[in-house]
């Protein structure tokens, strides 16, 4: 047996449920207070139908734009000012965040992309070093125009990686006592494979690889500018 009042309530609750299931706003009002727990259960049931609900790309973009438009905390500007000489400004921070937010991400498991610097007007630059100048496990810092790199010897091979920290644009320095490349700005270290040594979250990208070649006589050239 149903009472007219119950039918009316049932129709009302179904309108609320229909909206929620269609992705629309939950339009409960104080007149629904007596059924507030039933409505919350309905919302939770609707919320459990997606295994892992994700922000839509459009919403992610809107959120990013909103955060870029000056709502960012003041300390971003302060931090940016500290490295202003290196050309990083709040916009650059925002831009980096924007690119992260715009792309589909997988929380916690996302791999941050490392981009190899390829100078548009690149040319092979003699480093002035030969293979014999490199000691295994001891990197040597070289510059090739705009490219700063560390060279590392692996037997008869040489690898090279960027000398700039991937979190803030600070010059890495070789810490011989710890056998790491250290960022003096954050006391963050990288291995000689370019991997960040950090349990902090999220990890920064690995150091970009720089192209290097060994010529006759062991001469070492780096692709620079």
């Amino acid at each position: 047996m149903t009472e007219p009042h119950e039918e009316k309530r049932a129709a009302r609750i179904d309108r609320i449920v229909g909206d929620v299931l269609a992705g629309r706003h939950l339009k409960a009002t104080p007149s629904d207070a007596t059924d507030h727990e039933a409505i919350r259960v309905a919302a939770a049931l609707a919320g459990s139908r997606e295994g892992y609900p994700r922000m839509s790309p459009a919403f992610r973009r809107r959120l990013t734009q909103m955060l870029q438009k000056g709502e960012a905390p003041a300390w971003i500007s302060r931090r940016s000012a500290l490295v202003a000489g290196l050309g990083l400004a709040a916009g650059a921070v925002g831009g980096a965040l924007a690119s992260e937010m715009a792309a589909p991400v997988s929380p916690r498991t996302r791999a941050r992309e490392t981009v190899e610097p390829l100078p548009a007007l690149g040319r092979w630059v003699d480093t002035g070093l030969t293979l014999a100048d490199l000691e295994a496990g001891v990197p040597r810092r070289v510059t090739a125009g705009a490219i700063g790199a560390f060279l590392v010897r692996h037997g008869d091979q040489v690898s090279a990686m960027s000398a700039i920290c991937t979190h803030l644009p600070c010059e890495l320095v070789w810490m011989a006592d710890r056998s790491v490349l250290n960022c003096p700005c954050h006391n963050l270290a990288f291995t000689l494979d370019g991997q960040p040594l950090s349990d902090r979250y999220p990890p920064p990208p690995t150091l970009p690889k720089v192209r290097v070649r060994v010529l006759a006589g062991g001469r070492l050239e780096v692709l620079g500018t």
Binding site: P53, I76, R79, V105, P202
Partner: protein
């Protein structure tokens, strides 16, 4: 050797200038933006629709992110974001039903330290459904989890549209009672 461009340098010492910067690798904003995915999922698991989930996630971002300390670590940021999300949800329900916050049962469905904040919520829904009479459980599963329209549910259960609406109300009320004991 190219004397102009290829000067090797040895950097086996720290530069003289020490720059004061936040102690943490990732900025609080960067961490917070990562966490907003979890916040969104947390909210969606409670309000069940995209429109309100987006509004509330945006509220949380606007309220919490400007207040993050520059030295805050990931766990502190996560806790603050989820505390802000719980507060936003409480205000949301309070405004909808015109009820004071203290009359709304505290939302303790999810431990914000969980890797997947929606998992516990989904498990709780399963537990509640499991405790309902079979006809109520079937109705709610068809309607909410399998996306049946009310007409389709009525056809499946062999009842009228009006009848299934009433049954849905009763099933939700029963689920709320089970949930309050859970």
């Amino acid at each position: 050797m190219n004397g102009e461009l290829g000067q090797p340098e040895r950097f086996d010492r720290r530069p003289g200038e020490v720059v004061e910067l936040p102690d943490h690798l990732a900025s609080p904003v960067e961490i917070a933006l990562e966490e907003l995915d979890f916040v969104y999922a947390y909210i969606f698991a409670r309000v069940g629709n995209r429109a309100d989930s987006e509004d509330l996630t945006q509220q949380v971002a606007l309220k919490a992110i400007p207040r993050l300390r520059s030295g805050a670590g990931p766990s502190a940021i996560r806790s603050y974001l989820f505390a802000t999300a719980r507060s936003a949800l409480a205000t949301f329900w309070s405004a909808r039903f015109g009820l004071p916050l203290e009359e709304l049962r505290e939302d303790v469905w999810v431990d914000s330290r969980q890797e997947e904040p929606t998992r516990e919520s989904v498990e709780r829904v399963d537990r509640i459904l499991g405790k309902l009479p079979a006809n109520y459980r079937k109705l709610l599963e068809l309607r909410f989890l399998r996306g049946y329209s009310l007409k389709e549910v009525a056809a499946e259960l062999g009842t009228t549209l009006g009848g299934v609406k009433v049954m849905q109300l009763r099933a939700l009320r029963a689920a709320a009672r089970v949930g309050s004991d859970d």
